[in-house]
């Protein structure tokens, strides 16, 4: 997805997304924040990436990919400006976000998508590839890169700040 496509998206619009997602949640965001505060180099490049707030389950035997689904986005609101400053194009999660998140989507011209929660077996079938990018010691909270095909998304906050919830 490119910047100009992001600006065209309207709230409630449904998409079948094919491409890359960066999977990270609470602990990984906190680690990135700590690295930035020490002016250290980050272990991931978030430029023009979409961040998916999730932590996958362990994969079944003979597979790399386990059940995966969104976690509550609101917990990540305090890190949202940090990742927008790192040129993240949008975020994916579940549930309503704070007023701050809406303001940041307007300010940086970014979007927030939701994807169905409690549907992790289904979503795992849209994941074609997964690899750990950073912080493997965090287990399900490590940063992963996933490639998805026809991954269901709904625009929950658009770049004008219009929102579903």
């Amino acid at each position: 997805m490119k910047i100009d496509e992001i600006e065209k998206l309207k709230v409630r619009e449904l998409l079948q997304y094919t491409g890359e997602l960066i999977v990270m949640r609470d602990a990984a965001h906190q680690k990135l924040l700590e690295l930035l505060s020490k002016n250290s180099q980050l272990p991931v490049d978030l430029n023009e990436k979409i961040v998916f707030y999730a932590g996958p389950a362990n994969p079944p035997k003979n597979s790399k990919i386990g059940s995966i689904g969104p976690t509550t986005s609101e917990r990540m609101d305090k890190y949202l400006e940090m990742i927008f400053k790192l040129s993240v194009l949008g975020t994916v999660g579940k549930g309503k976000r704070s007023d701050l998140a809406v303001k940041l989507c307007i300010k940086y011209k970014r979007v927030y998508f939701i994807t169905p929660s409690g549907a992790a077996a289904y979503l795992s079938k849209c994941v074609k590839d997964i690899k750990i990018l950073a912080f493997p010691e965090l287990g399900p909270e490590a940063i992963y890169n996933i490639n998805v095909e026809d991954f269901p998304l709904m625009v929950a906050i658009d770049t004008n700040g219009s929102q579903i919830f």
Binding site: A27, P60, S67, G95, P116, G139, I164
Partner: protein, 273 residues
């Protein structure tokens, strides 16, 4: 004596099953739902069951409610058995390790989803009944305790609960199961609210006054139009259950616990023959 092996085998199978197989009471509601993402939710439970994958990646913290008969003899403290059951189930299945050891400083993942939370209630007789919840973190974050004035009117109490669900319900993967614990002390009210979540949707309180309270609250909460996924379509709350206990004249503790739409729970009973 009830053998450790018997508890271990039956309970392990049951915990695996509730993580992978849709709650039959919930299935009816999903099948009727036609709103956004309905196809994904229907496909999800079919794939999970067929491929033995967890329905949700958040395979939760397991919370046990153990009703232990005073004439029951066990091979070891029940907590040890339950701990081992959880370790086996979560390390041998494609589930997630969602627990961290100390909660504040290191937050190091325990890598086996232990320890579970265990509440033990001593009862009379020769049976051992174990109820459990597989409780996800998203809905757990919406738990609340209200220390209300004892003179509060019933409608005011309803308004407190309705206000809480209205404000937070969309974040807990609705439709929700609402558990309410009234009375006891602050801690007791919270435990009772969790215990209320182990009930079947159609079950009603044995006390007719509380049964009416449950039904009225269910009706009121469904006027909130939170809907599946918080997208305002479909039912908002599956059921409401109250557990109550005597309390101090100066207090009215009320615990509220919400369970996500998957309502992963089980009950299993053993007899000491």
């Amino acid at each position: 004596m009830i053998s450790k092996r018997e508890i271990f085998e039956k309970l392990s199978n049951h915990i695996v099953q509730v993580n992978e197989t849709i709650n039959p009471e919930v299935k009816t509601y999903i099948d009727e739902y036609k709103g956004p993402f309905s196809q994904a939710l229907k496909e999800n439970y079919k794939i999970a069951e067929a491929e033995k994958l967890p329905l949700c990646q958040d395979t939760g913290i397991v919370e046990f409610f153990v009703f232990l008969g005073n004439e029951v003899i066990l091979e070891e403290p029940i907590f040890s058995t339950l701990n081992e059951v959880v370790e086996k189930v979560y390390t041998e299945n494609p589930f997630r390790f969602s627990l961290v050891s100390d909660p504040l400083f290191e937050r190091k993942n325990t890598k086996n989803n232990t320890p579970p939370v265990v509440h033990i209630f001593q009862v009379s007789g020769k049976s051992l009944e174990i109820k459990f919840l597989v409780k996800g973190g998203g809905s757990e974050n919406l738990s609340a305790l209200f220390m209300l004035k004892p003179s509060i009117r019933v409608q005011e109490l309803k308004d407190v609960i309705i206000g809480h669900v209205k404000e937070n319900g969309a974040k807990g993967c609705p439709p929700l199961h609402v558990g309410i614990g009234i009375g006891g002390t602050s801690d007791k009210a919270m435990v009772l609210s969790k215990l209320a979540l182990t009930k079947s949707f159609k079950e009603r309180n044995q006390d007719p006054v509380y049964a009416v309270f449950e039904e009225e609250l269910l009706k009121d909460l469904n006027t909130l139009k939170i809907g599946f996924q918080g997208l305002k379509e479909g039912v908002s709350v599956f059921s409401v259950h109250v557990e109550y206990a005597p309390t101090h004249i100066a207090t009215l503790p009320v615990g509220v616990s919400l369970d996500c739409y998957l309502c992963r729970k089980g009950v299993i009973k053993f007899e000491d023959r």
